[in-house]
Subunit: 320 residues, 2 copies
């Protein structure tokens, strides 16, 4: 959430001459997305996002993201396309970093979604899954069940510094997921991080899905579980919003559908989604000094979600 | 250079209903200015900056800044005006902070100014000084000569952790300035921080002067000295750009003028300007952990400027 690489405006202006994108009239570093450096540019043609990729995004993955958003955009999804330069090249170097010029989309990210907004988000996720059919790109999800085991191992004894007993709780949950993970469900390209931050809206209309840098190939219905865990609780995880959850699932079912097998596996997927964010937040918590200027996100907000998912009725999670 | 206070988009949208400023269609936290939280807003009417004031800006000073930019804007200066709400109010509260909606200006900040750009900046500074005539507001410069003594006292023994002998050098310079400071020169409202960051340009044209949060009442020609120290050296202070300096002074003289007394006092003003930034940077350096995520600006970049100013010929500084 910061600008890590400062690019002089003169360099941005020179960079733009590779494109049919007009001349620079404004450039503002914006606090957005995962650990990339982002600039909101205004040119004589319109607005663009300039992204420089920092260490958290692997340059080798960029062609996957570029091709995916092209595929989705061509099929009518509201996603930010990577802009080709005059030679057709979309991945560049700027200030020593991989860099791309990206379409700017209007819309704002809601913080407290209404059921109507949750329904629209579910529908947009389903439309994205529909549009992704036929996309041939593949990317392994580093944050899958084996990845969670790795991450838990790295956190080790430090879990209990966050909350007493957390290490045991995580170990038990991993054992449960090993036994119950619905590995045979259909796999596809998923967004894998569709928090409200990553959905642009105007009123109840979705105007864009953004930040695909966790997108990967995994169980498709897991994407709905991640989205539900992100949209249907209070921020601290203490309150479950059944109305949002029912609307989100309804929107998804109406636009894409959910099979009986996916419904049967949904509770396990939700428990997995809650554990995934619990683990990455715990890892960041343990590895970020308390006095650092970045805000550490509370891992316990996802322990509370996990507790809810573990004790809920399967029907409740599907809004029935 | 970060967004310190996160304001939910729903709150920004509700905030905008106080104004005739349209409905929110985009909000991006931007990395800009002193330690405030800034959002670049797009509404159905146009673009605006939303600023929330953090601890470094004293709320009691905001009416001074608001009135000053109104005064300057009414006299044709390209400065970002504070937007009044429907009741005429320009200073509000949002998310527990003083907050203002501010005009958005296009233009980019140059990093390596050309002489033509330095001349335009000098001319814009002179136009600002002309427009400020008749402004009745007063604000003490906390970073004046007595303020430098205070700051040096606070840095104390820590100077020599930055560079051996720095403490003695600062003490000698303060003694020299006490003896030579041209306190009888005309005083006026000055910007006091007109770095290239704070000048928006398109090509060689100035499109805006921004970030007036250090503006205050002090020796008017000191503003030109500050601007020169910011525009006419390489970033690390090791190279003096005589061509930029001559152009900057020429632009200022053509648009406002410089009296004989101001010319005679200019070298002392330049030494003071270099010391002012050396001291604030040294203070921040000493008080910021080396591993913090904010970039510490090198105090020695202004020690090098000070060394240059102390040994230069007075005529050289005026571009003669």
């Amino acid at each position: 959430m910061a600008v890590y690489t400062h690019v002089p405006a003169e360099e941005i202006d020179a960079f733009l001459t590779r494109y049919d994108a007009g001349r620079l009239v404004s450039a503002k570093g914006i606090a957005e997305g995962v650990e990339n450096s982002n600039y909101l540019l205004e040119t004589t043609n319109g607005r663009y996002i300039l992204t420089l990729y920092e260490k958290r995004v692997d340059e080798a993955d960029l062609p996957f993201f570029i091709d995916l958003l092209d595929h989705l955009g061509e099929r009518g999804c509201l996603v930010p396309r990577f802009i080709p330069d005059r030679t057709g090249k979309r991945l560049q170097q700027l200030s020593g970093r991989p860099a791309c010029l990206i379409e700017f989309l209007t819309g704002i990210s809601v913080t407290e979604p209404t059921p109507a907004q949750a329904k629209a988000a579910g529908a947009a996720l389903g439309q994205m899954h529909r549009a992704a059919e036929g996309f041939s790109g593949q990317r392994r999800n580093a944050l899958d069940l084996p990845g969670w085991h790795d991450l838990a191992g790295k956190c080790g004894d430090h879990f209990d510094e966050i909350a007493p007993g957390l290490g045991d709780r995580v170990a038990q949950e991993l054992a449960w997921l090993d036994a119950h993970w619905p590995s045979d469900l259909p796999r596809a390209v998923i967004h894998a991080d569709l928090f409200p931050d990553n959905v642009l809206m105007l009123g109840d209309q979705v105007t864009g899905l953004i930040d695909f840098y966790f997108s990967c190939t995994d169980i498709r219905a897991y994407d709905l579980a991640v989205t539900q865990s992100a949209w249907c609780f209070s921020n601290d995880g203490s309150a479950w919003h059944a109305d949002r959850a029912a609307a989100l699932v309804q929107g998804y079912v109406e636009s894409f559908g959910l099979s009986d097998a996916e419904r049967r596996g949904f509770q396990a997927l939700c428990r997995g989604a809650a554990l995934r964010f619990l683990l990455t937040r715990a890892y960041d918590w343990i590895n970020t000094p308390a006095d650092a200027l970045v805000t550490r996100k509370d891992p316990l907000a996802f322990l509370r979600r996990l507790d809810f998912y573990a004790s809920a009725s399967p029907a409740e999670l599907l809004g029935a």
